[in-house]
Every structure is written in C-alpha cells, then in structure tokens.
Amino acid sequence: MNDLPESAKPEIKHSRRLSKVWIIPIIGLFLGLWLVNRTIEQKGELITVTFQNADGIVVDKTEVRCRNVRIGIVESIDLDPEDLTVKVGLRIKPQHLGLIRKDSKLWVVRPRVSGASVSGLGTLLSGSYIDLDPGQSKEGQSHFSGLESPPLTPNSVPGLRLFLDAKNPGSVDVGSGIYFMGNLVGKVESRAFHTNTRTTEFGIFIEKKYSSLVNTETRFWRESGFGLKLDASGVDLEVPTLDSLIAGRINFGVPEGVIEGEPLSTKHIEYFVLHGDEDEANTSAFRSSAQFLILLDQSVRGLEKGTPVEFRGLPVGRVDIISYQLVVSSEINSIPVLIQLDEHLLAKHFPPSLRNEGEDGLKTALKNGLRASIKTSNLLTGQVYVDLDYYPDLPTNDVKIVSEYVVIPTTETGLARIEAVIEKINNLEIEPLLTKFTEAAEEASKTMQDIQASIGGADKVIAETKLTMEQTKEMMTALREIMNDPDTQALPAEIRTSLAEIKKGIQPFSENGAVYGDLLRTMDELRNVSRSVKRMTTEISDNPNSLLFGKDPNTSKIPRSRKTR
C-alpha cells in the first residue's frame, strides 16, 4: 500500500506563465498609454497670432473656425511689452493642422456695421471667434499676424483679382461693388494710396463665372453721382442708386464701337485705370488713325481739345491741337487746328473698302469738294463741332501739305456765314448810288420846270431832257446789274434760311417745346427726390433705431371731436 502508483504522486509544476490576473493591469497600462497618446494627439499644435487688440477674445472659450467649423480654441493671450501687440496662442486640432498654411489669413469676427455692409451679427450673442481662411500654399507656418478686418473674398475662392489705379477715388472704397451692365459681379477688396504716383490703387475681385467679361479692351469707371444733361433733344437726369451714393460703385465694359479685346489670361494684365466717368472711359478708347490740318479763318471760340469731328453727323474723330505752333511758316494767317480720326469710329461707320484708299482716296475726296467747317451744335451753350462734308459747288483743291500735315480745306457755314452776309451788305456801295439817283431826279424835275417855264427854247430843253434820260437809263442799268448779281439775289434767301435754322434750334427751349416740358417734369421729380431724402433723414434723426428695428408705433393719442371733450 506504500507504493503509491506513480500517478498518484503530486507533481508540482511551476508555471512559467504569469497569472491571468496580470492581464488586467497590462490592459490598464495599454489603455493609459493610449489615452495619453490620444490626449497628446488630440491636443494638437500651438500657433501664435498677433492682433492689435484682444477685444472679444477669451482664453479657453473663443473658438477658431474655418467655414464655421470649429478647428481649435484660444489657449493663451499675452501682451507683447515691446510693441504692445496682443499675442494669441491657438491650439489647433491635429486633424485640421493641414489648414494652417503659409498664406493663411486669420481675423477676429465681431459684429461690424459699415456703409457698405453689416456682418458678424451672429457674434452679438455667440461671442466673437477667430476665423481662418486657409490659403493655397503647400508650406506650413506657426506664427501669423492677424488681420484687423475680414478679407472680403477668401483666397481660396476662384476668381479674377485685378488692380485699378485711380486719380480721384471718389466715393469708391473697400466693399464697393463692381458692376457689369447693372449686375453685381465683384467687390473692391483693398485700397492703397501711393505717394510717389499720387494715385489710389484698388484691389478688386471678380467672381470666376464673370471673369471672362474682362478683356484687354475693358475700361473701368466710377459710377457718377447726380447728372443733369440739357441739350436740344431734351433733359436727361441721371440719379444713381442710393447704395452707389453711399458706398460708391465701379462699372466696367467695352466702349461702344470698340472691338472686344483678347481674354486676359493670354496677356497677364493685372493693372487697369479707373476712370472718373463713362465719358472719360470712352474717350480713353481713342486710337488715332490719321491726322489732318485744317486752317480756319474764323474765330475758334468754343473749339477745344476733344471737340468732336463729324462726317455728315457721324462721329469720326476729335480735335487734337489748336495752336499757331503747328505751322512753322509765317505766311499762314489762319488758325491751324489739328484733327484726329479715330480708328474705332471709322471702323464702325465705314466698310473697309472705303477706308483703305490711301492718298488717292483723299485726292478723290478733295476733288469731290471735301471741306471742313465749324458748326454750332447747340445755340444756347455755344457748343461747336467740326463738320466734314462734300461741297461739290465749291472750287476743288489738290492735296496740300503744310508742316508735314495734309490740309483739308475749310468753308464757312452757319453763323459765320450770316456774319459774312452782313459784311456783304455793309460793303455794298449803295450810298453813291443813292446820291446819283437823287441828283438825277433833281435834274429831271429841274428840266420839267424848265420845260414849263420856257416853251421857247424847246430844242435846248429837249436836248437836256435827252441827256437826263440817258443818264437815268445808265443809272438804271447799273442798278439792275447790282440787282442781278447772284450775290445780291442770294441775300434774302440766305438770311431767311439762317433765321429758320436759328428758330429751329431754339424751338425745343420755348414754352411749347419738348425741353421746357421735360425741364418742368424733371424739376418736379427732383423736388420729390429731395423731399423723400429729407423725410428719410428726419425719420432717422427722430428714430435712429428704426433702421434696424422698424418704427416704434406711437398710438397713445388720437384727434378728438368736440363732443368727447
């Protein structure tokens, strides 16, 4: 019984494996490590931003957002003792670290009310936050200087960014709209004044879908304020929209008659000129194709640089220089005026076959009686223009060149012609004629007396009578000659036409005319406009909060009748 079967011996095996209990602390350790790692990862990275002041920024509360998604939080606010700027530490979540790039922009979103826009109203209740525009750079950065005002269009938005140089910026400012044919297509984003060129440079942004509207021939101009134009066709009153009065407005387009240019992408143009108004923008499109000299014997009063040159009413060019210095020779007493013909305008009105005739074409034109003349377009304001037209009745001219310029001969028309007619009347030798006539009449009567007195000396009397009659006849012939002179005959007709022209010109301004009625109505409208503006200002000064909250109704009192008093 002693021998126990072997199998009955306790076999003590020392287990080399750890107890299963250890699994729990190990899992705990792993969990702990994972959690530490997670917190470190979750904590993200710290970046610093410098602002001018920390208005509305609170540590651990103010968020960093991108497209209104929270990507981080403000961790610290420090004041730099040297330049007194505020250094704000931002803890960015690791998964969003890719958004922090070299050209990122950061700014504080606070409620803002300016002439052009109201923004950030939501932050009134939620508190300010720091907004991030990621930018497009590949590199990262950890220190930024924050913007004081929000960039109007984030860099990431595709579109056209251009610069406009303006001599006079007017009411245009950051936030002003860019309009194409009355549609808002972009905004002014930045403004800088260059002291060396004395110009204001505006950075503008045009949305991508509209960027094809801008080409190399595009002109930009400021929307003008109130404009009143008075001419023979009536009154034209331009009232700008209220927002363009307050916030300014930029228009652009290709001037009429100018062929659309090439797309900008092929030329890499970034700078444009901002013109004062549409007219200025249009005249800047002028491209001289030919210069001609006209020599005027009449006053050039009213003629100035830019005065239009028209061919039978079609605008073809403008006056460039009026100066005696154009002509070197002292033989010429007339006033030399240099006119330019515009390529665009010529292309608009005339087919190419008519334009490319060169010198031969000019010769033919001069042979056909091409003349330049100064005509009055507006009798009231004395506006003039240079008219080119064919006068086949006038003697033809050959091509004449004075001081390198081809001369277009002139003729006098309009008022200058009336003046010439009056001159002619003055120069007529009427007085000696009249004296002669009186003498003759006196002699005739004397003769008659003589006849009556003495019938005796009849022969002598008859001879004398004959002589007198002959003299009278001679005189009558002379008179008839004068009367038959085409110049004299043309006089009354010419005066009549001239007077009719003047009358026609003044007609619209008379009491029955279109301009008069227009003027009355326009004045009425102006009065209404000014009254509405006055009412609005009264309303705002009475109730400044009515702009945001509407009017505060006041119903406490009503008019009472006698009975209830």
Binding site: G122, L124, L125, S126, E511, N512, G517, L520, R521, D524, N528, R531, K534, R535, T538, E539, F549, G550, K551, D552, P553, N554, T555, K557, I558, P559, R560, S561, R562, K563, T564, R565
Partner: protein
C-alpha cells in the same frame, strides 16, 4: 446654443414689427366733376407750410403750441398733390367744368384761370375742429392778371374721435375753400 438664441432674436424682431397695422388716408372730393368740357381751370402750384410736408403723417394739435402725430396714420402720397386735385374736382363741380389741369400743365391746354394756393394751416386743432388757412389767388390767363386774391380761414368740427373723421373734416374744408374760390370766378 447659437441656434436657439438666433431664434430668440427672430422672435423679438417679429414681435416688434407686427405691433399694429399702418393706415393710409386721402382727401376726397365732395362729388364728381362733370364730364363735359367747360372753362379751363389750372390748379396750382399748391405751396404747403413746411410742417405739413416734412413728415407724411397726419397732424393734430394737443395744445395751441404742441403738435401730435402717429407713425401709424400717414397720408397716402404727396399731400400737396392730393390737395390740388381734390380742390380741382370740387371747383369743377361747382363751376360745371371737367376741363381741369394740375400744375404744371401743358401750355396747349388753354386754361382760362389759374388758381394758386398757399396753405398755411391744415390740421386738427385742440378744440375738436379741423382748421384750414389758405391764401389763394385767381389769375386770368393768358395774361396772368390777378382776378382775386384772398386769405380764407375755415373750420369744420370732427364728427367723432379718430383719424378718419379728421380726414373727413379736412376733406370738407377743401370743399368749403373751393366754394369761396368758385364765388370769385363766377
């Protein structure tokens, strides 16, 4: 949190804006002008005292030196225009003419008379009356010779309380004025 508060703001705005309804008033003529043509009458210009046109609201006195007005009771349109047209219709009815023109008229309308009005007072007073004080001139056209120049002061009691009866009384005042002017033309 933000969403909730924005709803709150919206609710506040809504409460503020839907307080009461706004009312608009016009003067009305006492009757229609005849359709038939008659002597040409040109009405205007109607010049109003500044206190009448500065704000579009109906005005009444609560004491001799204090004016009251309410944002909820406005003239519909330009009061001087409304006044001129109603005066014209009333005059046309009294003088038997439909040939009435408002200033500025076309010179081809060949008016026989022009009636120019300076309105100095036109409001409800603190006695329960509507008052009107107007200087008016009748010119014979085309020479523009003065036929009559006169200042009328008229009163008309309000039927009952309220803005509507004030406007009714003021309409009646315009008719009373037209009676005086018509007497000068006849």
């Amino acid at each position: 949190m933000f969403k909730k508060s924005s709803f709150l703001v919206l609710a506040c705005f809504a409460l503020l804006s839907c307080g009461s309804e706004r009312n608009y008033y016009v003067l009305s003529p006492a009757g229609k002008a005849p359709l038939k043509q008659g002597i040409g009458l040109g009405i205007g210009p109607v010049n109003m005292a500044d206190y009448l046109i500065e704000r579009p609201y109906l005005i009444f006195q609560s004491s001799p030196y204090k004016m009251e007005m309410s944002d909820l009771h406005e003239w519909s349109g330009d009061l001087s225009d409304n006044f001129g047209r109603v005066l014209g219709t009333n005059l046309g009815r009294r003088l038997g003419t439909g040939n009435i023109h408002s200033y500025p008229w076309n010179p081809s309308s060949k008016n026989r008379y022009q009636i120019a009005v300076d309105l100095n007072q036109f409001h409800g007073d603190d006695q329960g009356d509507a008052v009107l004080e107007a200087s008016w001139r009748v010119y014979a056209l085309p020479g523009r010779n003065i036929v009559r120049s006169h200042t009328s002061t008229l009163r008309c009691p309000l039927e009952k309380d309220g803005y509507e009866s004030l406007v009714a009384a003021q309409s009646k005042l315009v008719d009373m004025l037209s009676a005086e002017i018509a007497a000068a033309i006849r």
